[in-house]
């Protein structure tokens, strides 16, 4: 009897077994999934069989204003101008992730788990799993300071920080009722892994235990070792006070160690929850119209409208507050400094149709909020090569932890009143003198562009604008 017949019979029978028995068994997930996905296990874009929990995940910018998002965009792509500068983090993130940028050092993932319709879900633990190794990314390094993802609610829970180099299970106990969702943010870091990764959640669906894989819409997340920061040590120093985020880029790889020299940075403070918002835009912004359709959501309307206008390139108008951060990484003793700040101002008149004005009064607005901490204020009226704002202002550098450089932040207010269409473009000249009398001079702009403040006619307030909104109600805490 020759061997071909038994070979063929065995081959076909085995194939039938795999197709008809092993795959459904694999989908049932009796045991926790292995470190590498086995055949048929959790493949595909997070679709589960009917009656099971569902999972969805995506990359997120960061956990909070203190987060920095850093990534490398593949070679051959120039960062567009609209994705760089103050208030452009969301645009930079969208542009970079659309080009398969690989996060560097730290990656944040947002995820959600939906319980089946007929039973609840309890999440017991979470872990990050290292996948296939990737070649070290090459290309343009991009960075975002103040990495708050606009698509993630501020109420979404930060579940914790995990490390690909030292995997561990994050023990939790989170519940979702039938048909409800439970989700959060996870920050994953590495120092030497250039690799794919995903999240595995151990859950109980009713009485049934499962392991659910959470990835980036069907593909693993990616992460590579950290690179040197792009911004100066002072950049981002005012984020804690509500300054705009900053989007930066660097061609080629970072060389050398971070600078230990004193650096100065400045940024505009957003109106946020406490200040009335006043901006002018080149065009009507329909998205703002939609966000302000329901003003009965105190604390959530003006802030979102302002963020949308800033991302769209709208300018602050009438009055704005600015923060100047002075950082000295090498300073350990003698932390007193004396600071002079002046503005170099250029006045222009907008050509074409008048701008669209937007005003918003948040629920707990109080004019004094930003002004209260101002060390000085100026009013702009014409071209001025040297307009002093702060003179001989004493500051005390403070080191919050041993790892952070000594920093101090000053505030000042600028007002611009005049005909519609008038704009003031300015940079800051900052002189810092230490205790020995040594003076350093710094020219500071708005993350690569001059600061711009549009003028408003005297006597006008945000409520006079074409689009004016008042949040209803008071939400405290």
């Amino acid at each position: 009897m020759n061997g071909r017949r038994p070979f063929l019979v065995a081959f076909l029978l085995t194939a039938a077994v795999w197709a008809g028995v092993a795959v459904p068994w694999a989908l049932t997930d009796h045991e926790p999934a292995p470190a590498k996905p086995g055949p048929g296990a959790s493949a595909g874009p997070n679709i589960a069989a009917e009656g099971r929990s569902r999972a969805a995940g995506r990359q997120a910018l960061g956990l909070a204003w203190s987060s920095t998002w850093s990534a490398t965009v593949p070679e051959g792509t120039d960062v567009p101008d609209r994705a760089l500068g103050a208030g452009r983090c969301s645009a930079l993130f969208t542009w970079a992730t659309g080009r398969s940028a690989v996060p560097r050092g730290t990656a944040t993932a947002a995820f959600t788990l939906t319980a089946p319709e007929d039973r609840g879900l309890v999440v017991r633990s979470l872990r990050v799993v290292k996948g296939r190794a990737l070649p070290p990314p090459k290309g343009t390094d991009v960075e975002c300071l103040g990495a708050v993802d606009p698509g993630v609610p501020t109420s979404m829970e930060r579940w914790g920080r995990l490390n690909l180099d030292r995997p561990r299970d994050l023990k939790v106990s989170r519940t979702a009722g039938p048909g409800a969702t439970v989700g959060g943010l996870i920050e994953t870091s590495t120092t030497d892994c250039s690799c794919q990764w995903w999240i595995e959640a151990e859950v109980w669906e009713g009485a049934k235990r499962r392991t659910i894989r959470i990835d980036d819409a069907g593909a693993p997340f990616t992460l590579a070792p950290p690179v040197a920061g792009i911004g100066t040590p002072a950049q981002g120093g005012a984020l804690k006070y509500g300054a705009t985020d900053v989007a930066l880029a660097r061609e080629g790889s970072a060389a050398g160690r971070p600078s230990q020299a004193l650096s100065v940075s400045a940024s505009r403070l957003l109106a946020g929850d406490g200040q009335e918002m006043w901006m002018v835009a080149d065009r009507e912004v329909p998205e703002v119209d939609r966000l302000t359709a329901n003003l009965d959501v105190p604390g959530a309307v003006c802030r979102r409208a302002e963020r949308r206008l800033v991302a769209d390139g709208a300018l602050p108008a009438g009055r704005a507050a600015y923060a100047v951060s002075v950082t000295d990484p090498s300073a350990r003793e003698d932390l007193e400094r004396v600071v002079d700040v002046s503005l170099k101002v250029r006045k222009t008149v907008r050509e074409g149709p008048p701008p669209q004005g937007y005003g918003c009064y948040p629920a707990q607005w109080g004019l004094q909020n930003n002004d209260g901490q101002s060390a000085g204020s100026v009013r702009l009226s014409r071209d001025t090569p040297h307009l002093p704002v702060l003179t001989g202002e004493p500051v005390q550098l403070l080191r919050e932890t041993d790892d952070t450089p000594a920093t101090s932040t000053l505030f000042f207010t600028v007002e611009a009143w005049g005909p519609d269409g008038t704009e003031y473009h300015f940079t800051l000249d900052v002189t810092v003198e230490d205790a020995s009398g040594k003076r350093t001079h710094h020219t500071v702009d708005d993350a690569g562009r001059p600061f711009v403040l549009a003028a408003r006619p005297d006597g006008m307030a945000p409520r006079h604008e074409k689009y004016a909104y008042y949040e209803n109600g008071h939400k405290v805490g």
């Binding site: 698509g151 998205e287 939400k475």
Partner: protein, 330 residues
């Protein structure tokens, strides 16, 4: 017994090579003349006997099968079937291995292919969060407790009346009268989600407990600016949309809530209590592309609970303007 030689590849049926015939003849003589090994009767070491020298006998004809069969068994008759069995087993094993390897390769390829970047299908990737809150300038935040309230102890322990009320609920109390629920919908996909309906679904009801009622806030009054409202005591617990005090219809009527990947949908609903203590969840129905879906909004894994602020109340207390003291109401 002598060693039986089995050729790996047999000749065609009926044809036996002459070399094989000679080998068979030799082995027959070998097996018949060589006694079985056995220990010497005196226990000494057994010395193997010298095997008989083979004598070449060319041209020996094939022995008839019955002559070749040794007395002790039938290895010669078993040789062809045994050979075929081994061949079958080996071929079958090879078939299993090749099939398995091919299945693994195909599945891995499909796993990689299907795991390539593809959008999350519509109907998935919506995340709902909720927050219960009160606007104390216009809302009355109240808690109903079974039994008697020890207001002196509350004033000693709690920093403010609002915190005291939350502490009572954690113990055995229930929020009463009304609450505001802020719903945030986050969209993980690139397909915008529009909310097409919100409804409270009561999962459990029971009579309000006898006992005391403690409340704070509501100095400015007015519900006129609340756009979305649900009345748990109404026959229809769908969210109604208001423009001032005027009801404009079932939500959404005048405005549309959209959840986009870079902008969640956020809205507040003012929920009024009915006549019983109701445990409820919110069903949010939405449209995503051509798909319809529903997500349940609850209070961190458990239903919201709201009791009436009227009925069988023994004593009622209100906090003062500083929210640090409680005054009994007449």
């Amino acid at each position: 017994m002598g060693r039986v030689v089995r050729p790996l590849v047999g000749p065609a049926h009926g044809e036996i090579p002459s070399a094989l015939l000679r080998a068979r003849a030799k082995m027959k003589r070998f097996s018949l003349n060589f006694p079985a090994h056995s220990p010497r009767s005196d226990g000494g070491e057994r010395v193997p006997e010298t095997p008989e020298t083979e004598t070449a006998e060319p041209g020996d004809p094939a022995s008839p099968p019955d002559e070749d069969a040794p007395a002790a068994g039938t290895p010669r008759d078993a040789a062809p079937p045994a050979r075929g069995r081994t061949r079958t087993i080996v071929a079958a094993a090879l078939g299993i291995v090749v099939s398995t390897a091919l299945a693994a390769a195909v599945t891995t390829y499909l796993d990689v292919w299907s795991s390539s970047r593809s959008p999350v299908p519509a109907g998935q990737g919506l995340h709902a969060e909720s927050e219960v809150w009160w606007d104390l300038t216009r809302d009355t935040k109240a808690v109903r407790i079974p039994g008697t309230a020890d207001v002196a102890e509350l004033e000693q322990e709690a920093m403010d009346a609002g915190t005291a009320l939350d502490g009572l609920v954690e113990a055995d109390g229930t929020y009463a009268g009304m609450m505001r629920v802020r719903v945030t919908l986050m969209n993980f996909t690139k397909v915008p989600v529009s909310v097409t309906g919100v409804r409270a679904r009561v999962t459990e009801e029971e009579p309000a407990p006898e006992g005391d009622l403690l409340s704070c806030g509501g100095a400015e009054g007015s519900t006129g600016i609340t756009r979305l409202r649900i009345d748990l005591g109404a026959s229809d617990t769908a969210a109604q949309e208001y423009d001032g005090e005027k009801a404009v219809g079932q939500y959404p009527s005048q405005e549309m809530q959209l959840a986009k990947q870079d902008e969640p949908a956020v809205f507040d609903i003012r929920v009024e209590a009915g006549e019983t203590t109701a445990s409820y969840v919110l069903d949010v129905v939405y449209q995503q592309g051509t798909e319809k879906g529903r997500v349940v909004v609850d209070d961190g894994g458990k239903p919201f609970v709201l009791a009436p602020d009227e009925g069988d109340i023994d004593s009622a207390y209100r906090c003062d303007d500083s929210m640090t003291h409680w005054e009994k109401q007449p």
